[in-house]
Amino acid sequence: MEKKLGVYICGGCSIGEGLNLEKLSLVATKEYKAPICKTHPAMCGEEGVATIKTDMAAEGVNTIVIAACSGRVKYDVFDFGPANIVERVNIREQVVWSHDWTKQVKVKTKDAEGKEVVKEETQPNDDTQMLAEDYLRMGIVKAQKMNQVDPYLLENVEKSILVIGGGITGLTAAVEAAKTGYEVTIVEREAQLGGYAAKQRKQVPTKAPYTDLEPNTIQDKIKEATGNSKITVKLNTEIARISGAPGQFAVSFKPAGTKSKWDIPPKKKEEETKDKPAEAAETPAEEPVELPADQIKCEDILSSDPDAEVFGAVIVAAGGRPADPSQFEHLGFGKFANVITNTMLEEKAAKGKIVRPSDGKEAKTVAFIQSPGLAGDDSDFPYASSVTSMISLKQANYLTEDYSDGKAYIFYKHMRTPGHYENFYKSAQNNPGIFLTRGEVKSVTENADKGLTVEVHDTILGEKIAVDVDMVVLAAGMTPETQFEPVINLAYRQGPAFRDLELFDGYADSNYICFPYETRRTGIYTAGNVRQTMTNGECVEDATGAALKAIQCLESTNRGMAVHPRSGDMSFPEFFFQRCTQCKRCTEECPFGALDDDEKGTPKPNPTRCRRCGTCMGACPERIVSFKNYHIDMIGSMVKAINVPDEDEEKYRIVAFICENDALPALDMAGLHKLKYSADIRFIPVRCLGSVNTIWIADAMSKGNDGVLLIGCKYGDDYQCHFVKGSELCNKRMDNVAETLGKLRLEPVRVQQIQFSIDEYEKIPEAIGKFVEVIEGVGFNPMKGF
């Protein structure tokens, strides 16, 4: 595309008062020879927009740089269609709203008697003007370097959905997706559908007034699924492998419990699924894995199964397994016949009246234990949650249903009944046969008749008590299936399972608050108990959400768009393979496993798995990864466009790479609240700190800038990074940068990374001020001027 640049500078929202717009225009017209540069008092008004449109029509302007407000606002007003490049230069929030327009200058003049006097005079603030000018330079360069995006389109996007698990979650997901017209296949390991829901007597309330147990509706759900012509059910079946990418997942099935040559081959040592620091690229020599003779030789992950079925997206509703509480010896599980878990009781209750396992006698007095009650440990049973609280309340109700003189004791550390479930708690509390107290269960002992005595301390009865019961029920949790098996068996180079499972006790990783259904495997969505312990009602809701996400994935992939979190982004990374050194860093560092390298180590991109964060671009030491509208040269050129003052001007320059997900909006908000910060700093938005290539830092330092600040999301176990690992990877790369700086005899403190969440805008000026102080402390970059 032959670019024709038009620069439009807005004078509204006090931009015109804080800046000399004529002088600013000279940057465009003189320095960058922009054929068109116009100012307008309100560019976003009808007249302003008409000006741009007229130039587009009459002059053929197709590369539009608008210096006005933040690109996060008025994006609809300044949308000129996909055929044109638009770059927004933020001189409102980041310049005039956050910096002083004038400054006090001491001026020497002569008074009437000819004596020299020093007078204070108010002058326009040239620091603010310089800031705006730099931003305009960077904006123009960016627009010049940006190319039109050409979306990646699969030849054929398969639109059917695979649901793993035929319990209440899987069935609901299938039914909901089928209702909207998508073909669905449910794969279930057991011989029948229904999962744990089919083994329940009743379910906790799902609707107002949330006070009474509801009949179990799983059989209706099974009928609905099996009666739907769009739903195929595969019983006694497991996944051998899933290869491919969203829109084209090739799925190999196998009979449950068997081995198949399409199972994922055992991993080579160095490919363990842990994320590695950038410098871990040097790996020990690969040792071929010797397989035991009785094992089937599995095909490599890159070879394809001709019999595989193709699906567009996957919903994982694999549920979980009841956790084993036998580690808590004082509770007697596994030792005494009448100590059972809530799952065991539920199965009993579904079949009839509640009786003792030891002799089948009526169990009229039952103790429900919510927490192990270990000294100094407040925890409930592993994997317990509000759901286990509610299951105990539910089962206590069974007891008073079965026996008019039934007594249920509930000993809890925490009784968790969030939201509307409080009504369920209240109704159980109101049941005369349900006795509730907080307490620490010290022991369960067996009596002569196989009855049990439960001793409880620290109760709200104000004393240490003991009760005789017929049976004890432990409120054990449900361990997610992903804790035991990969379930999805991905033929991905990063491994068959979800990532970082050990960080989340086996639950698939997701951005819990913002993107609950997302996993780190694009196109694969978790729902139900594999994601979080849930009640039946919650499972239904969760499954519906996951079905919607799967559909969104199909409909985005179909259009060549990113699914999430850069929803609608059509750019994707391209690799200049001739220069690839097979270092595998991109394959290893991609937070989403989008790349599968071949045996030589050359990355094989799967663009529909990609989330467009640019972590591969940040990782690549050869800088062969680029997006059409976001690449090494573009950001590098922006860095170089900054006008770095000479040392004798005594002005510092700092380049800040700022994450556009949270930190950049926070910076805008700081401007919106008119918080002031140093005018020595130049912000460059990046897709994610993971996309920051160290060459940009080298560019900044070699151009004489005095420091580089990286502002991104929180990382670590409670990360807020939208791309999960980006800010963490960036931080690891900074270690290397520090080393490089040391070699150049530059102080490592000149490059720092700070973490910001979106609501911390108030702290931005302070954080920037601190960094500026550090730079002032170490002085000017000695490379200035070279």
């Binding site: 209240k426 005369p432 509730l436 022991s443 001793e455 301390h457 240490k464 003991a466």
Partner: protein, 390 residues
């Protein structure tokens, strides 16, 4: 294992408290707002929080012998402030009822008085006694054995009689009334005696032997009663201190009147009816009016505070209804007699007799028993020094 005390929660007790006006019992979640707002509770181990959980857990042994249950005067400050609507005031009222029932002798009587199902049966006893048994027995007795040859009449006979209205002459001669009421009073007294003995045993078992003199504790308790000292600590239902005072002194006045009348009859051999200017009559009428005012005030206070303090139980209203019936029919009997309207006067007097019998004979089982149990509990509480320091 040795540390925990084996408890045996009694589910029936829980259900009994809930069906006796404490249906909100299980709503309590132990925040202790009640104990904080209560002006009656001692600072050490305050009530009613602990009573609430013990009742929820059916731990009746911690409630029956616990004097705190009776230190509570049901001010209902707790009920007004309870964030969960657990109405501790009403629950403690229900516990007191179940407690009265528990100590009642014979125990089936406790059950019957506390249960609306048996109301008709309980009313039938005096109705049959005065309406059928007494006249029938009277007719069996030869007139020479009857004082002044009078025999109780059937109600319709009295109603159709002529001449001045004289209840003792035309309807129920005094010896018959006395026989019936003396029996009723003995029955009640014996019931109270057994109940209080059992209660005292439980009190001392629960809280230990009295430390000070029981006599001085009793004197102090009675003097508190006379001034209604405790009631004045109530906030939400502070008016009750006055209404209850009227009822209290109304009863005291009527008790004196009754004694005086006995003296007239058996000491001076003066027979009723007595003229209106007679000092005994003046005291009787004044007490009756006081009682009427008091009980009406009680009812009006209860209506007014129903939202904050709770609407009260069957047990409460049965007692209030009986007192109201007694005082209204008592006054009407006198008025109708003076007006000479026999057709109304006799039935009203008949109702009056039934209502008084109800109060007397069923006293150890009805809310009337609070008089005895509260006194016992407070005397005991004072004797062990369990009192709010003021």
């Amino acid at each position: 294992m040795a540390e925990g005390k084996l408890i045996k929660p009694d589910l029936n007790f829980v259900k009994r408290v809930m069906s006796s006006g404490g249906e909100s019992l299980k709503k309590c979640y132990q925040c202790a707002t009640c104990s904080v707002v209560c002006n009656m509770t001692p600072d050490d181990k305050p009530f009613p929080r602990k009573e609430m959980i013990h009742a929820q857990w059916g731990m009746k042994d911690k409630l029956f012998g616990n004097p705190d249950v009776w230190i509570c005067h049901q001010c209902s400050d707790c009920t007004a402030y309870c964030p969960r609507g657990a109405k501790p005031g009403e629950v403690l009222g229900a516990i007191r009822k179940v407690s009265i029932e528990h100590y009642s002798f014979p125990s089936f009587m406790g059950r019957m008085v506390g249960d609306s199902k048996f109301l008709i049966l309980l009313l039938l006893v005096p109705i049959l006694l005065f309406g059928v048994v007494a006249p029938y027995v009277g007719q069996l007795i030869p007139p020479q054995y009857l004082p002044e040859g009078r025999s109780p009449a059937y109600l319709h006979e009295a109603m159709s009689s002529s001449g001045p209205i004289v209840y003792a002459e035309k309807l129920m001669p005094v010896p018959f009334i006395d026989t019936i009421f003396i029996c009723a009073a003995l029955f009640a007294a014996f019931g109270f005696f057994i109940g209080v003995m059992k209660y005292w045993k439980d009190l001392t078992a629960f809280g230990g032997k009295p430390k000070g003199s029981i006599m001085s504790a009793a004197v102090a308790t009675i003097s508190d009663f006379l001034a209604h000292k405790n009631f004045k600590k109530c906030e939400v239902t502070v008016d009750r201190s006055k209404s209850h005072l009227f009822v209290f002194y109304g009863f005291v006045g009527l008790a004196i009147t009754t004694t005086w009348a006995i003296f007239y009859l058996y000491g001076l051999h003066r027979e009723s009816p007595y003229p209106l200017y007679d000092p005994m009559k003046i005291l009787g009428n004044a007490s009756a009016i006081g009682l009427l005012l008091g009980i009406s005030w009680v009812i009006s206070n209860r209506m007014k505070n129903a939202e904050k303090a709770g609407k009260g139980s069957y047990y409460d209203w049965l007692f209030i209804g009986d007192v109201l019936t007694i005082v209204v029919t008592g006054i009407l009997s006198e008025v109708l007699r003076l007006l000479g309207i026999g057709i109304l006067a006799y039935p009203v007097y008949f109702i009056h007799l039934v209502a008084i019998f109800f109060l007397f004979a069923y006293a150890p089982f009805s809310k009337m028993a609070h008089m005895v149990y509260r006194t016992t509990a407070l005397v005991y509480a004072k004797s062990i020094g369990r009192e709010k320091e003021s």
